[in-house]
């Protein structure tokens, strides 16, 4: 038997509300499959499962808020014998025998009544309450329990963000560096590239910046990974957490996995998909839990530079301000030049300003050679190549 527990979907999450199940007892599940949607107070997240198996029992019902680590469901290993219920019991709402009996007497459908008993079961008292027409206990027919009211959500999200950022500021000795990066070459390359493409194929500067961060990190692995249990665990690959502000307030920073291996079109596609899903509330648990570095881009909102707070257990955050024409001295001449201010917030327990500076310089240099940036794919996929050739 495998316990499927509520994963931590980020340092700011210590509990979650189960919104709905995508599977029911008896269903076979595959590693990586989305099985449930959980409200982390910041977003509705699609929670994936990391075992193959067959769902045995649902332990937490939609609407229940439980701490991280709570067993949400149990799974049988593939081939493991059925433990209790026949498969066709399916998602039947548990109703206690006496409640079922009483419901029959009262002519009430017990499965339409909210359960307050063990494992969410419908009890005698629930039936009596329903019979007296107390609306509070009646569950809407099919739809999943709605998320908490907006004001509550705001409050909870602020609390969660404050908790995580407070912890970060308490525990992580931050240092900050900044670097002004000329963007003329990059923007020109993008404009050239996008010119003949339909709107669906175009690439935003944000994608280029992400790619540059991933490649620059190759020189300074001390910025990419986790600080856990008193030690730094560098990451082989870059899972870039992209800070996405949510409409209505708050932000999430889900990961794009293996950024350094992606072609620009792939990366653009991933970014676009991620933003869309973040705002639609359908992020996946793996995206929430494993970014190795965060990249935040407040340039669209007009900020010149952003000095971020590291998201534990990560050890660095890269920020980009707005790309704008500013005075720039080039070859001894003062010019109006498109510039962006890149900043680094990093963890002194793992790296020093020296390494941080090397990273920013590398980042700058990468952005001066956009074609090389586009070409650099650690493991280009066939799709990537095709895109590149077009």
């Amino acid at each position: 038997m495998i316990d499927f527990k509520l994963p931590s979907l980020g340092a700011d999450m210590d509990e979650g509300t189960l919104l709905r199940w995508q599977v029911k007892p008896g269903d076979s599940v595959k590693r990586g499959q989305v099985v449930a949607v959980v409200d982390t107070s910041k977003a509705a997240v699609d929670v994936e499962i990391w075992h193959d198996g067959v769902v045995q029992e649902i332990k937490v019902e939609p609407g229940e808020k439980v701490p991280v680590g709570t067993v949400l469901a149990t799974l049988r290993e593939p081939g493991e014998a059925m433990a209790v219920q026949p498969a066709d019991e399916g998602t039947r709402r548990p109703v206690s025998p006496s409640a079922r009996q009483r419901a029959r007497e009262l002519g009430i459908d017990p499965e339409a009544v909210a359960g307050t008993g063990v494992q969410g079961s419908v009890t005698l008292a629930d039936i009596e309450a329903a019979a007296q027409g107390r609306p509070a206990t009646v569950v809407p027919a099919v739809s999943a329990p709605s998320q908490a009211p907006a004001a509550d959500r705001q409050r909870e999200m602020r609390r969660a963000i404050a908790a995580a950022m407070g912890r970060s500021k308490r525990e992580i000795p931050h240092y900050y560096l900044s670097q002004t990066i000329p963007m003329a070459a990059a923007l020109a390359w993008l404009q050239q590239r996008n010119q003949d493409l339909p709107v669906t194929g175009r690439i935003l500067p944000a994608a280029l910046l992400l790619k540059a961060v991933a490649l620059a990190l190759r020189r300074t692995p001390q910025l990419n990974g986790f600080f856990r249990d008193g030690a730094f665990q560098p990451s082989e690959t870059v899972h870039a957490g992209v800070a996405i502000s949510l409409r209505g307030g708050g932000l999430v920073a889900p990961a794009i996995h293996g950024v350094e291996t992606m072609s620009l079109p792939q990366l653009m596609g991933a970014l676009s998909d991620l933003v869309r899903r973040a705002r639609a509330g359908s992020l996946r648990s793996s995206e929430m839990s494993d970014p190795t570095i965060t990249v935040t881009n407040l340039g669209d909102q007009g900020a010149e530079a952003v000095f971020g707070v590291i998201y534990p257990p990560q050890v660095a955050l890269v920020g980009f301000g707005s790309v704008a024409l500013r005075p720039w001295v080039d070859g001894g001449e003062l010019r109006a030049w498109p510039l962006v201010t890149a900043t680094l917030a990093a963890d002194h327990r793992v790296s020093d300003g020296h390494q941080g500076a090397l990273f920013l310089v590398e980042l700058r240099d990468c952005l001066q050679q956009p074609q090389a940036l586009a070409d650099a794919c650690a493991a280009p996929s066939i799709e990537g190549k095709t895109d590149h050739e077009t």
Partner: protein, 325 residues
């Protein structure tokens, strides 16, 4: 009066009332009884009727059966239930079956008393609770006095029973002191369970040494706003289903508390009967608090962890209550 004194009073009364009654067992005479239950009786009734035996459980329990067949009313004391396993054959294969095998010709009016239970750091081989095993066997009546009154009052009807009766005295109860009504009111029945505390939210079904713990748990639960009814089974065979079911029908939840291991146990039997007879009255799954499935360890903290405790009972009940509106 203490539980021990109550047992002794009952023995004295029985020995005085009927010359056919005699007590036989290991160290019941000169030693005064391992648990000092029969202290002083040798002087009063002599060595024929307060008969010390060698360490021959199989032999003297078998002889007790023979003596019962021969017209006596023996009370055989097996020091503890642990040693009664050496006499399982005569108890089960002979005493319990003789009447049936003989087509109703030979009843065995025998009373066997034994100490049972754990909780005194006497380790695995002296801490068993096998009442439930005996309660499995047709032909036996199995009693589990949990109060001083029952200790005082159950012996006389047990002796009056024409068939073998086993009385289990939990070793932790011997020192328990309780008020007992005067002798006249003492004619106890040996067929029914008792409600020891009335309640309305959950039925706690228990017996013997677990009764005090269960009463304690019920008190704690009351403090948490949960009204627990405590049923003392008293008679483990034949079980008094009516009292149990009446309680379950009222409370709609039931927890069985028994010091024996859970697998294949008396607790399992009580739960099964509730499932059979009161299924539609249940508002929560049945639960039980039994000993952990381990031989009872010597170390105090481990022994405590292995046995049912009031706190475990409370936690089990709380888990059954759900999120009460």
């Amino acid at each position: 009066m203490s539980y021990r004194e109550a047992l002794r009073e009952a023995l004295r009364e029985a020995l005085q009332a009927d010359p056919r009654v005699f007590l036989m067992g290991e160290d019941v005479g000169r030693y005064g009884g391992t648990y000092a239950v029969s202290k002083g009786l040798l002087e009063e009734f002599g060595p024929e009727r307060i008969r010390d035996t060698p360490l021959s459980e199989l032999g003297f329990v078998g002889a007790g059966i023979g003596a019962a067949l021969g017209g006596m009313r023996p009370i055989v004391e097996v020091m503890t239930v642990n040693f009664s396993l050496l006499a399982l054959d005569p108890i089960v294969n002979t005493a319990a079956m003789l009447r049936h095998m003989s087509g109703g010709q030979f009843s065995v009016p025998l009373v066997i008393r034994m100490a049972t239970g754990a909780g005194r750091q006497v380790a695995a081989q002296h801490s068993n609770s096998f009442e439930g095993w005996y309660a499995h066997v047709p032909g036996l009546r199995v009693l589990s006095p949990a109060t001083v009154e029952d200790a005082r009052a159950m012996l006389a009807p047990a002796l009056a029973d024409a068939d073998p009766v086993l009385i289990f005295e939990h070793a932790q109860l011997y020192n328990m002191e309780q008020e007992v009504p005067d002798g006249a009111a003492l004619a106890a029945d040996i067929s029914s369970a008792r409600v020891r505390r009335a309640g309305s939210d959950v039925s706690l079904v228990t017996h013997g040494g677990s009764l005090p713990k269960t009463m304690q748990a019920a008190e704690a639960l009351a403090g948490l706003g949960i009204s627990a009814e405590v049923i003392d089974l008293r008679v483990l065979r034949p079980l008094d289903d009516d009292t149990v079911m009446a309680s379950v029908r009222k409370c709609h939840r039931a927890v069985v508390v028994d010091e024996a291991w859970r697998s294949g146990s008396l607790a399992a039997e009580v739960m099964a009967r509730i499932g059979e007879q009161a299924f539609f009255d249940l508002d929560a799954p049945l639960a039980r608090v039994c000993s952990e499935e381990v031989p009872i360890p010597y170390a105090r903290h481990l022994e405590e962890a292995a046995l049912p405790q009031a706190q475990k009972i409370v936690a089990t009940v709380q888990a059954l209550m759900g999120r009460r509106p």
